[in-house]
Symmetry: C2
Subunit: 225 residues, 2 copies
């Protein structure tokens, strides 16, 4: 089995109100896209198209309004749970690659809805990603904050392993692994927000599916604050 | 830019004392391998070759001996920090795909050393991976527990973003993203422990590098228990 991860060049700078699906669709058409492909786009471009921007001077108030719960804090850094249920630095509010000076980019209000809307227009599975830090490990990994048309989790529980032994606790976060794979072809200093992944047909589903919301663990189920 | 992730068929079942590098090397030779490729192998096969096995009847004592610190506990599940500094379920002790009934597989004693030894024989970068759960998110992701010849982290701090704005807090856990990408071509029900990734030349380094140990955050630097 082979999976091919391809950077999609030529998506233009996006501003609030732009037709993101048309811009990504045009760029995809130049490299080719077909059923069974997965298109991965960064949160930044989705948020810009949706007008999820704020002036940098309002930073503290914006982070507070995006925060449902403060998980940890050290100096300027706040690890917060967002209203979506994501746990990340500064509730996902970030000033890098904002497209304009002194501008903050906020997470989309409903990234799974954003992914569904893109999927309806592009005709292939869509994953929307952002870079999150992790507890206990250095460095950030790209993860899925929205998805449509892709099974976000492959649940092996109750199925046999290669020796016929029942697997008890194995659920694989496919959408997060897709996000990570897409990040490998991207540079933070380039402006290529779209990646096409080919070869994941076994995880592509007919409908939109449960979205990346399925990757959020409920507070009750978690062992961590 | 394109990255190609290829499942490498034909690595045989591995038993303690087997020459893992010879087995993986033979399988790689059949699909081809060249400088700049990254070979990703699962922890299970490395641990088996190194004899890191124990009888299932000793489970509790084995988990305890692999544990440096209990991070959290619920019922049978222990989230533990291992002596390497990894935080994971049951200190990395697992019975699935063990290769023999009633057998536990332990993490390699020094996975970076295991990766270095494989790299010396295979002549390409090596990443050794395992599936870890995460705080706050459902599902497990494959992460790097050992690596050699690959920059584990791409540090963008102090460099400009696409608009020339200095990036302040962006370190990307490349080796973990490589592990995740490799997992996308694998099934837990097949026995293909090796994956070849082509197209990551920009992260391949001349020496062994700091290894996956660089991905472990020190307790002092972490905001979490």
């Amino acid at each position: 089995m082979t999976v091919e991860v391809l950077e999609v060049p030529g998506v233009p700078e996006i501003a609030p109100g732009d037709d993101l699906a048309a811009s990504v669709g045009d760029a995809l058409a130049r490299v080719g896209v077909r059923e069974g492909d997965v298109v991965v786009v960064t949160q930044k471009i989705v948020s810009k198209a949706e007008g999820r921007l704020a002036p940098a001077s309002d930073r503290q108030a914006v982070v507070e309004s995006e925060t449902a719960r403060v998980v940890a804090r050290r100096g300027d850094l706040v690890i917060a749970e967002t209203h979506h249920g994501f746990v990340c630095a500064n509730a996902g509010v970030d000033a890098s690659n904002a497209g304009a000076p002194d501008t903050l980019v906020l997470l989309p209000l409903d990234p799974d809805a954003s992914a569904r809307a893109l999927r309806a227009r592009l005709g292939c599975a869509v994953v929307i990603t952002d870079s999150f830090g992790r507890a206990w490990r250095q460095g950030q990994c790209e993860i899925a904050i929205g998805c449509a048309g892709l099974a976000p989790i492959r649940d092996w529980r109750g199925e046999p392993d290669s020796e016929g032994r029942e697997l008890h606790a194995t659920q694989i976060a496919i959408a997060d692994e897709v996000a990570a794979a897409a990040d490998l072809v991207r540079g933070k200093d380039t402006r290529q927000p779209a990646v096409r992944i080919r070869g994941l047909e076994r995880y592509v589903i007919d409908g939109d599916g449960p979205g990346a919301a399925a990757l959020i663990r409920s507070r009750e189920a978690d062992l961590f604050p």
